[in-house]
């Protein structure tokens, strides 16, 4: 979901940026012709001039250095035009800043400035748009709605794409479908999916009527995002037959299938219209879809093609690759301009780029930003929105590898994002990359390092109020509390996560699943097996309803774990197997390895005669676990392996003590890093018994002491200094 949020935002930003970029050129046209006469003497000559400026914008997009381009305007454009540009530039900068770190903006201060600006220049309607953005960023629904309507009432949406000549001759009609598109996205942002869908449907209809293909493409993309992000279990009655040819022939599709059809349509449309950015973001959306969905035949009659019911990682990679093509295409396109409005004015954005990032890098003062800075200052620098899109493809890569189970690749991609794209991206996206990196640290290096990194991240993203950073902190705290046996603390943290999940502005399904998953785990840690099973079960039902298949695999695994811990290994087996099959069809290799491990543990607990089978299962999964697994998983695997050997009656400790001792000592080291007292105690217990059998009394005592230490720590969790206690 993080990812989905993120990609959606990308698209919003792109569209907004695109609109904004194109709007800048000719806002004299804001006042409809009818009103020109009111201010005729001055206004009249403004019209041809702005036309002229359009042309300049179109022909000289990036090749000219900004100063030159500006100079070209000055001689024949009079004083007011220059001030207009300045105001526009200011507004543009503010809009960028709003998008980047929205909530850190002071609502009232900026509103005051805008109001002043409006007072001075009532015909500059962009101010209303900025006011809309401002109130949107601060979750002021009514103000946002009001300003959005006001902006489009005044501007008639014509400034948005007014250089795109309408397909059917001259069109005096305003471009109000853009207003619908924005309204739909606003409802989406505020968490009103039903209304958003209604409005976007209307946008589709109006765009079709007016044959505004560009807007239609964007609207379709927005609908795709809406469907993929929000757990809509049923679109019947909202989405009309105009969306896909299939619904019109009376075949009812599930939401997912509908989404797929829409995505395909949207991609095709964007490609045929040569909307590069939209194509790229559609590819991203497609990749996201492929990542978590098994492709099925849409039509269930006719000769059944033999389908293997698995996700296709190759498709995901292909889509990601295709979306990254944007950056190269952008280089080629810079000289021959298409009618795509955003491109013709994007050069203005570059005008501010060096300045903006210089300030940023000063503020950050960290070495990693140097690269990004240089990257932006390159002579043929790339517009920010393109950078954002490319950046998001890296984030998506990181997520994809996270799911597929390649820790190093996930980490590399997140690192690339954090080093190269933080300047171009919004702060919440940058926070996401940091979150990924810190999670990685926590899993592979233990909590100490993770919390140190978290501190840095917190300082960096201090301004972002509803950040993922807070969620990450809660996650880490919960994880750590569980490991150390602070069940009360774990419960407390878990409850806080639950509160975050039931936020007022729409429910974040991802967070909601996470919260209840953690709730179940806390219950399990407290040995309340039936309650844990009940929570997990209802969670499974929810995931099933909203088609969250990847989460299903996790939940099933948890259920298997619950049964294993409660001593019902036989009951646990089917869950583990089901989880395995889910993992297989979604290519979740790491999760699969962990499910295999659980399966092995289950077999092992059925009796020593299954030890062989368990051992072979573990050894099958070991390469994956050792290569990509975190500390906990590795330790568990080691312990399980040792246990298999120990319970095998044909295995003699005295002959082959290394086979057991080596993994156990490795596990003990890793578990101590994690401060996972329970498992550590178990390890030391096993070690002590082995040493006892070997007759090495000194080592035995040592292990026994360590065992005791961990047991004590587990029993009295509150004794030690806990620097993290005060963070809550």
């Amino acid at each position: 979901m993080d990812l989905e949020n993120f990609v959606f935002k990308k698209v919003t930003e792109e569209i907004e940026a695109r609109k904004r970029a194109s709007e800048r050129v000719s806002f004299h046209l804001h006042a409809p012709k009818a009103l020109f006469d009111l201010v005729e003497d001055i206004e009249a000559p403004a019209d041809p001039k702005s036309k002229h400026s359009d042309k300049v914008g179109e022909t000289s997009p990036y090749v000219h250095p900004p100063n030159y381009a500006l100079k070209e305007f000055e001689p024949n454009s009079g004083i007011f035009l220059r001030t207009n540009w300045q105001i526009q530039g200011y507004l543009q900068e503010q809009a960028d800043a709003l998008e980047k770190n929205g909530s850190s903006f002071s609502l009232n201060a900026f509103e005051l400035i805008l109001r002043q600006l409006h007072k001075l220049a009532p015909e500059l309607h962009r101010v209303h748009f900025l006011r809309y953005l401002n109130s949107l960023c601060h979750d002021d629904y009514f103000a946002a709605l009001e300003n959005l309507h006001r902006y489009f009432d005044y501007s008639a949406g014509t400034e948005g794409i007014d250089f795109v000549p309408p397909a059917s001759g001259s069109n005096s009609f305003g471009r109000y479908e853009i207003a619908l598109l924005f309204l739909g996205m606003m409802h989406f942002q505020f968490g009103h999916p039903k209304q958003a869908l209604e409005v976007l449907t209307e946008a589709v209809r109006v765009s079709q009527q007016l044959s505004n293909d560009t807007c239609l493409a964007y609207t379709l993309a927005a609908i795709c995002n809406l469907l993929s992000e929000i757990g809509v279990s049923n679109t019947a009655g909202i989405l009309g037959s105009s969306f896909s040819p299939l619904t019109s022939i009376g075949i009812s599709l599930s939401v997912q299938q509908q989404l797929f059809v829409l995505l395909r349509g949207s991609l095709k449309r964007a490609e045929s219209l040569k909307l590069k950015r939209l194509v790229a973001s559609n590819h991203l959306a497609m990749a996201k879809f492929d990542l978590t969905h098994v492709q099925r035949p849409l039509v269930s009659f006719g000769p059944k093609a033999s389908m293997k019911l698995r996700t296709c990682p190759t498709n995901v990679c292909k889509e990601l690759r295709l979306s990254s093509h944007l950056i190269s295409e952008f280089g080629f396109e810079s000289s021959t301009m298409t009618t795509d409005g955003a491109f013709s004015t994007a050069w203005l954005k570059n005008l501010q780029k060096p300045l903006g990032s210089a300030i940023l890098s000063q503020e950050n003062g960290s070495g990693s930003n140097e690269n990004a800075f240089q990257f932006c200052v390159q002579p043929s620098s790339i517009p920010g929105s393109v950078l954002q899109l490319i950046g998001s493809s890296y984030l998506l890569r990181a997520t994809a590898w996270e799911l597929y189970g390649s820790a190093p690749l996930a980490r590399i991609n997140a690192l690339v994002y954090a080093t190269c794209f933080t300047d171009a991206s919004s702060s919440s996206d940058a926070a996401l990359a940091y979150v990924k990196l810190i999670q990685h640290l926590a899993v592979f290096r233990g909590y100490k390092e993770a919390f140190a990194a978290l501190k840095i991240a917190e300082e960096k993203f201090l301004s972002v109020s509803k950040s993922r950073i807070l969620i990450l902190k809660l996650q880490l705290l919960h994880e750590r509390a569980l490991h150390r046996g602070h069940l009360k603390l774990a419960q407390q943290v878990c409850d806080e996560l639950g509160v975050l999940a039931s936020s007022v502005t729409g429910v974040d399904m991802e967070l909601k699943t996470e919260a209840s998953l953690r709730h179940a785990r806390t219950l399990l840690a407290a040995n309340q097996y039936s309650e844990a099973a009940a929570v997990a079960h209802s969670l499974f039902c929810m995931c099933y309803k909203f088609n969250l298949q990847v989460e299903n695999a996790t939940v099933l695994l948890l259920l298997a774990e619950v049964h294993k811990r409660s001593g019902n290994a036989v009951l646990g087996l089917p869950y583990a197997l089901a989880s395995l099959s889910f993992c297989q069809s979604f290519n979740l290799d790491l999760l699969k390895a962990s499910a295999t491990l659980t399966l092995a543990e289950l077999w092992l607990s059925l009796g020593s005669n299954h030890a062989k089978r368990a051992l072979s299962l573990i050894q099958g999964a070991l390469p994956m676990i050792l290569g990509h697994g975190g500390l906990e998983l590795r330790a568990r695997a080691y312990i399980a392996e040792a246990k298999c050997y120990l319970s095998d009656p044909s295995f003699s400790v005295s002959e082959n003590s290394e086979v057991v001792l080596d993994p156990l000592s490795q596990a003990s080291v890793e578990l101590q890093v994690l401060e996972y007292h329970e498992l550590a105690a178990e390890t030391f217990y096993l070690m002590a018994t082995v040493f006892h059998k070997l007759g090495q009394l000194e080592e035995r005592e040592e292990a026994a002491n360590s065992f005791k230490k961990h047991m004590m720590a587990l029993k009295n969790p509150l004794d030690d200094e806990d620097p993290l206690f005060n963070v809550l």
Binding site: A34, L38, L120, L124, H149, R150, F173, L180
Partner: protein, 577 residues
């Protein structure tokens, strides 16, 4: 009639004081009210021809227990002598300054009074400076108007005026007129709360300055601010409250106040016009028309408020009366915004929308914040199918006054015309929020819900129900409710509403296709309910109409007769259409 007398004498003094201070509008207003006070029969002189009012159809109440709200005599009388003394001191300079002022040479007037310290002189000097600044500002606006509309021109005198007046106020050496000016300056500078207190001070110590009251009223946009004002009980307060109520759309309260005031100011044209305004808001067009006819008879060269009359004439499609009115105001003063508006309405009714737009635009050139001209221009653009221009015009009206439900409604219509019903709903919602008792708005909103694109019939039903509860003149709501319920498969509700509709049509003696539809539905409905007597009644009524329904009714009747005469019911099923 002591209180009438006292009002009269108060006003007489006030008029002199106001015109002495060049507060022309206020003195004009006061003079109008003075003449508007009903004559005692004892003082009645035959030369007073205004008595033809008595024959008018306008409701007027002659109350005997009037003006109970002027108990604090001190308030109304204290301030008068204080200002008289000034005259003796700076009389000559003052006379010169006032002459200059009358010739609109404001700076010169201020200069003459530069060393005068009397309160009256100080006020006139400040007022002259203020007006000089305003004049310059207006000129600048026209001279410097940039492509972005307004320039940043402000009244340059405001700062110095504020400084001077605030020191005067601190010293306590400020009179009510000075306070009024101070309030004006503060309001212009945007410090509304202080402006409100200062203006309240001003009207409490000198209540006859209508300018101060109207400034105060423009600062009271909600009932809460209005209630929080600490005002002395003077009869002028009733005028203020009546006008303030009107502004915040409490029309019936406002109407009640005006009717009460009419007890004293029985012949006040101002009150007549305000009552007309309130009635207009309550959509009592017939009464408005009568009032304006009376007004025009008494005051044939009146232009104020006449644009509303033209709106009423337009709505009632009285083209000849509108033409007469338009020609009259054209001859009186064609360059007043109201005149332009009336002429615009006239052309619109004649179907010459381009010309009409031209006149509305002229009205707006004369007064950029002329609310109804923006709205009416929007209507014209709608007629001309130029929706973007209409949207723009409406939006400007809304930005002038958020509460103009007509503009919101117009925006909704415009967007609905463009095939964006869902988007339009936002605007309709706004308009019904502001004017919840107007059935037309509810019907339009319901219609919007009903469109093929939305088909949100449940919501449409809710809207129609609201419309039916309001005074639905065109009787669309009931019919639509019946139809919608029928479509949604709720025969009982449908029958209920058809019956209501039928009753209504009977009461209003209307006939037509709706009548036939209702009768036919009710007949078949009662037949399926096996309530044959009722069904028969409706069938026989249907026989009075010509057309295919007559035949249907006949066959229905036949079918019922056969059932009742003992045939097995199965046959009836077969034979009935």
């Amino acid at each position: 009639m002591n209180s009438k007398e006292s009002c009269r004498s108060e006003l007489r003094i006030a008029i002199r004081q106001l015109s002495d201070r060049c507060l022309y509008t206020a003195s004009k207003w006061a003079a109008e009210q003075l003449i508007g006070i009903e004559q005692d029969p004892a003082n009645f002189t035959p030369s007073n021809t205004r008595f033809q009012w008595g024959s008018s159809s306008i409701r007027r109440r002659f109350r005997t227990n009037e003006i109970t709200s002027t108990p604090i005599a001190g308030v109304s009388y204290v301030s008068t002598p204080v200002m008289e003394e000034d005259d003796a001191v700076d009389g000559d300079f003052y006379l010169l300054a006032k002459s200059y002022f009358d010739c609109r040479e404001y700076r010169r007037a201020a200069h003459v009074l530069r060393d005068q310290t009397g309160k009256k002189s100080v006020f006139l000097r400040c007022y002259a400076l203020y007006l000089a600044g305003e004049k310059r500002k207006e000129e600048e606006v026209i001279e410097l108007e940039g492509p972005l509309g307004k320039t940043d021109s402000v009244n340059r005198e405001l700062v110095s005026l504020e400084r001077e007046l605030s020191t005067l106020r601190k010293n306590g050496s400020i009179d009510p007129f000075g306070l009024y000016l101070y309030g004006l300056v503060l309001k212009e500078k945007g410090s509304e709360n202080v402006a409100r207190t200062v203006l309240v001070e001003s009207v409490n110590s000198y209540p006859w300055n209508w300018n101060a009251w109207s400034e105060l009223q423009s600062l009271c946009t909600t009932i809460d601010t209005l209630n929080s004002l600490n005002l002395n009980n003077h009869w002028m307060k009733d005028f203020f409250l009546a006008s303030a109520y009107q502004e915040i759309r409490m029309h019936s309260e406002s109407l009640a106040k005006y009717e009460y005031l009419q007890g004293t100011f029985g012949y006040s044209n101002y009150i007549q016009a305000q009552i007309a305004k309130a009635q207009y808001s309550l959509r009592e067009f017939q009464q408005v028309e009568t009032i304006f006819e009376e007004l025009l008879r008494n005051d044939p060269y009146r232009v104020e408020d006449m644009d509303m009359y033209s709106n009423v004439l337009y709505a009632n499609e009285c083209s000849s009366a509108l033409s007469y009115l338009a020609h009259r105001v054209f001859m009186t003063d064609k360059y007043r915004p109201e005149s332009c508006c009336i002429i615009g309405n006239y052309y619109s009714l004649k179907g010459q929308h381009e010309k009409s737009v031209m006149y509305f635009r002229r009205a707006l050139k004369l007064n950029k914040n002329y609310l109804s001209a923006w709205t009416l221009m929007g209507h014209e653009y709608i007629e001309m199918k130029n929706t973007p221009a209409a949207v723009d015009a409406y939006r400007r009206a809304i930005d002038i006054n958020q509460c103009d439900y007509r503009a919101w409604y117009g925006l909704g219509q415009a967007y609905e015309m463009m095939g964006m019903p869902f988007y339009a709903l936002h605007y309709f919602r706004k308009s019904v929020f502001l004017q919840p008792n107007d059935s037309r708005l509810w019907i339009s909103m319901a219609h919007c819900y009903e469109t093929d694109q939305l088909r949100m019939l449940e919501e449409a039903i809710k809207c129609y129900r609201r419309a039916a509860n309001c005074n639905d003149r065109e009787a669309i709501a009931l019919h639509q409710l019946a139809k919608l319920h029928y479509e949604l498969g709720r025969p009982e509700e449908a029958a209920f509403y058809y019956k209501k509709d039928l009753e209504r049509m009977e009461a209003e003696e209307r006939e037509g296709p709706n009548m036939v539809e209702a009768l036919l539905y009710l007949a078949t409905y009662y037949k399926t309910q096996k309530r044959f007597e009722e069904a028969e009644v409706y069938c026989t009524r249907l026989l009075d109409f010509t057309g295919p329904e007559k035949e249907t009714a006949k066959s229905l009747l036949r079918g019922m007769r056969t059932t009742q005469s003992g045939f097995p019911s199965m046959d009836v099923e077969h034979f009935s259409p």
